[in-house]
Amino acid sequence: MDNPPMLCVDQVTYRYHVTKSHYALSDISFTVNAGEWLAVIGNNGSGKSTLARLIVGLAEPESGSILINGKRLTERTKWQLRQRIGIVLQNPDNQFIGTTVQDDVAFALENLNIDDHEMQERVFRALRLVHMYELREKDPSQLSGGQKQRVAIAGVLALEPDLMIFDEAFVMLDPKSRRELLALLRELQAKLGLTIISITHDRSEAAQADQVIVLKDGVLIDHGPPAVIFEAHPDFTPPFAEQLKRKLIELGGSMPDAYMSEKELVDWLCR
């Protein structure tokens, strides 16, 4: 058990403009263990995407440090460390470089030194997983919103990194595809020990993470398992079952006060 954590963010601070007093991130510290699923939640503008950018080395902290697998992320180490991290940005258009879907996914693998045959295998496999194989010859800019997100996700799947970061990467998927994809990721997490950081506004997705961190105005205000977080923040719109329980109490029902999962609620109602 003395493996270093997959990710260690230590007292990280960041400003977009060093001349302004506004900090996008202030003194952020947390760790993510290998094989863990971390959900990052928080209001619009709270610093979630900024945090993701720092973790993949797209920007540098003003102070503090980021360690990937125990190695410090610096200008010098970032190219090497980046090969083990895949990210899907909030807007997939900012990510496309290929003129066809398959090229675009292949670009993600460019620095891996794998032969053409394996590269094609991996690209096709990833495209099949997200149901975009049929559209592999299309220009990514001429896809529907959900199709664009799928292609961006395929890039990360093909890379097979140790750490995957998704910045609201599932919002344009239809509910069935979203569920299938989350199930696939959970399977990879269990099978390969994949570590996942998912920035999300979807509280039911966050409820299924191992750990949740909460950002507010650039400050990390809470970190813990989902049940603890939702209980500690009654102002967050909780998963529906908990909303229903609170409503029933409001209407005079006598029910347990503690946070209830959906299964607990249904069992209680049908007791």
């Binding site: 619009n44 503008g45 979630k48 258009d93 719109t237 029933l248 249904v266 109602l269």
Partner: protein, 285 residues
């Protein structure tokens, strides 16, 4: 303002080989003052359908009409401009909509362009930034230095400032925090009622469909599958399961309770209020 589609076919016509029709022989009519949710899986043609309503995509066959104005393949620039004054559209990706150097200029562009004077424009900008829950400080900033959700709010503000008759929203909730999303959609519903707008909302969230819309329009592979009132739609178990439609959370939980108790309730609950009241009435709590 009424929206009519008559046997509309459309595609993106790339090069000489014609792609299959992205919108394939679609006919429907949205009553003035109605609130319609357009649903369907990834790539079904939802965004394309919306683009046909404001002339971003023109029908290859058939006609689209917005009130008295008509769009067909031959539609000229003048008609398209008149339509864009009446039809406000929030794009699926807000970045595709933002262009000016500051947020203030971005939002002011529409109203000024549609003939409001400086003072009226300023008022429209202030009012709409408030409606989407942003701090007025943001007006001086570049729209490209905002977070995803802030950009979404600016894009919505820009459309509201143009005071359209037909409001078209392509997944407006994507990227908004849940509390913000609820506030903004509730605000839009209020405007819809007050100003008697004709509103069209694309969403994957069936709770939004149940909460805000009157009617559902389901499309698949460019074809219209059905167009009916929300409650009728969700009551139809065959239809929803055949098309892999998620049930709104209250109804989904209702069905789960029914399975656990091995019975069915008479009522179909689409909202939190309906479900909680029914559970109390039925003596489960």
């Amino acid at each position: 303002m009424q929206v009519n589609f008559r046997s509309v076919k459309a595609d993106y016509q790339l090069g000489p080989i014609r792609a299959r029709n992205i919108i394939d022989d679609v006919t429907f009519s949205l009553e003035s003052g109605s609130f319609t949710a357009v649903i369907g899986r990834t790539g079904a043609g939802k965004s394309s359908l919306l683009k046909l309503m404001n002339g971003l995509l023109l029908p290859a066959k058939g006609e689209v009409s917005i009130g008295e104005l008509e769009l067909s393949q031959q539609a000229n620039k003048k008609v398209i401009n008149q339509i864009r004054k009446r039809v406000g559209m929030v794009f699926q990706f807000p970045e595709h909509q933002l262009f000016a150097e500051t947020v203030g200029k971005d939002i002011a562009f529409g109203p000024r362009n549609f003939g409001l004077n400086e003072q009226e424009t300023k008022k429209a900008v202030q009012e709409s930034i408030r409606l989407v829950g942003l701090d007025p400080d943001i007006l001086e900033r570049s729209p490209f230095s905002l977070s995803g959700g802030q950009q979404r709010r600016v894009a919505i503000a820009g459309i509201l400032a143009t005071n359209p008759d037909v409001l078209i929203l392509d997944e407006p909730g994507a990227g908004l925090d849940p509390e913000g999303k609820q506030k903004i959609l509730t605000m839009i519903k209020t405007l819809h009622v007050q100003k008697r707008l004709t509103t069209v909302l694309v969403t994957h969230d069936m709770n939004d469909v149940a909460t805000y819309a009157d009617d559902v329009l389901l499309i698949d592979q460019g074809k219209l599958v059905c167009h009916q009132p929300v409650r009728t739609f969700f009551q139809d178990n065959h239809l929803t399961s055949a098309w892999h439609i998620d049930l709104p959370e209250p109804l989904r939980l209702q069905r789960k309770i029914e399975r656990a108790k091995n019975m069915t309730f008479k009522q179909t609950c689409l909202t939190l209020d309906e479900l909680s009241q029914m559970l109390i009435r039925e003596g489960l709590v």
